[in-house]
Each structure stands twice: as C-alpha cells, then as structure tokens.
Symmetry: C2
Subunit: 135 residues, 2 copies
DNA sequence: TTAAGGGTTCCATCTACTGGAAGGTCAAGA
DNA sequence: TCTTGACCTTCCAGTAGATGGAACCCTTAA
C-alpha cells in the first residue's frame, strides 16, 4: 500500500496530478490511512499508469474514464474500445490537417519575408489584409 | 465610430471577444461615449481584424501583442516580425511531429483491434503495458 | 524537542475565451 | 409619456487539465 508520493513515483505522474485524479474521481485511492493519507493498492497504481498512458495519447479525461471502465470490465467488447480510439484518431487527423494548412501558409509568409531592418513585411501585410480570405 | 456590436460585426469577432480584448489591453477602443459605451474608430477596427487573423494563425495573445506593436510601428524591422513568425512555425512543426507520432501509434492499435464483442483488445493491452515504453 | 520531509485542504493561476445575471441606455411606436 | 426591445455596461462563474503555494497536520530520526 503506497501513499501519494510513492504512488506518484510508481505511476510516473506528479503528486499533484495523482491527487487531482482522486479529486475528480478518475482514479480514487483504495482508502485512507488513520491520519487521512491516501493509500493506493497495486490495482490503483495500474489504473494510474493506464490513465497516464491514455492521456499521453491525448485522450480527454472523460475518454480516460470510459477507457478505464472498459479496462476494469473484463467482459468488455473490444468494439467499444475501438470506437473510442477511432473517435480520438478522427480528432487527431482533423487537428493534423488544420496544423498542416497553417504550417503551409505560415512558412510561405516566413520565406517571403526578407527579415532585414526594413519595415516591408509580407507577414504584416497578409495579417492586415490577406490575399484570399473569402475563399 | 462604431460601438461594440458594430465593431464585432466589422471585425468578424464575437462581441464578447472584442470586450475581452479591450479588457486585457490587446485592442482598446478609441474612447467611450457619454453613456460609457465603447467606441471604435477605423484604426481600431483594423487592429481587431489583424488580431483575429493572427489568432487564426495560432499566435498567442502575447505574440499578437508583439505583432500589433510591429503592425502599428511603421519604422519596424521585418526581422522582428520574421522572428516571431519563425518561433510560431517552430511550435507548429513540433506539434505536427507529436501529432504524427500519435496518429501513427494509435492507428496501428485501431487496426489491430478486431472491434467485435470479445474482450481481447490490443488498445487496452497497450495502454496497460505498452511494448516499448523505455525506448 | 525539534527539524526535516512527508501528508492534508483550499484557493489562485494559467489560456482564451464564453455564458449569464443584473441593470443602464436608446430609438421607435402607441 | 410610456413601453418595448435591442442595445450596452460590469461582474462572476465556468471551460480542460492541471500546477503552485499557503497554512496546517503527521511521522520519524537525531
């Protein structure tokens, strides 16, 4: 049975985050010591690790909640898990597309900017009046 | 001279955001009417539009502040503008790389998951104990 | 006994807004 | 003149996901 500091070390999460996850009910400690300290059993440590990795994949806290439910439910359907992961993958693709478009536009501007001590600057000009805002 | 609603329409920003930008001193109104209404002159409308476009490029509010300073400073050096844009471009590239790696990993997992009514699921398994966390 | 190093709670802060309540202002119509 | 509705104002709260710090309690070893 580990207290919050040891649980943090074992899970790879900051102490603050372990407490935060307890507060929001994402991963609650197995119980409390007599002094009121949070105590974590092995199963909860595993959940903390699972949560950390799911967060690293960019799953939202709510998605992590769903995934943790499925993780602990050994009679789950893999279809349910897949659905959540596909949803996240869709978000990732969408964000990638947006970022790519932004990168493309911005790098064109950066390359077009001489970057000297004169004031003329296509970056400023474009932000003030972009060439094709309507379409 | 436009009040906040008209300025919002003219700039393409929500009213709330125009007020917010005034509050944080990003784009302040030219003045106030006798009744205390914010009033915006053409120059401030241009700044609002500029800010909106800079935000659309993902520049932070602080970066927008710098850019607006340069926008209004006609004796600016384009090098200063370029530096800010390059910084942002670096962030974008970094985020793209992270997202790409995430997409790659997650799509492998999604494809490996049968998505049926059985519990076995490589997504769950990987989140619980990824194959190569240490390297 | 005391000091270090745990732990606890609660509140504030971060980003960039957004929503809503309570109340003042203004122009038009009855 | 009164009212109605659409404006405007300020202020407070909330969003996501933590993180930092203050004030205070617990434990243990010297």
């Amino acid at each position: 049975m580990l207290n919050v500091g040891a649980a943090a070390k074992a899970s790879g999460l900051p102490k603050k985050t372990v407490r935060y996850y307890a507060d929001i009910g994402l991963v609650e400690p197995s119980g409390r010591s007599e002094a009121g300290y949070r105590v974590y059993a092995e199963a909860e440590i595993q959940k903390l690790i699972f949560a950390r990795r799911a967060r690293a994949f960019g799953f939202s806290i709510d998605a992590c909640r769903e995934l943790l439910d499925l993780y602990t439910d050994t009679s789950r359907s893999s279809a349910d898990v897949k659905r959540i992961a596909e949803r996240r993958l869709g978000e990732l693709y969408a964000k990638m597309r947006d970022l790519q478009a932004l990168c493309d536009e911005l790098s064109i501007l950066v390359e077009a900017c001489r970057g000297d001590d004169r004031p003329d600057c296509p970056i400023i000009t474009t932000l003030a009046a972009p060439p094709r805002e309507g379409g």
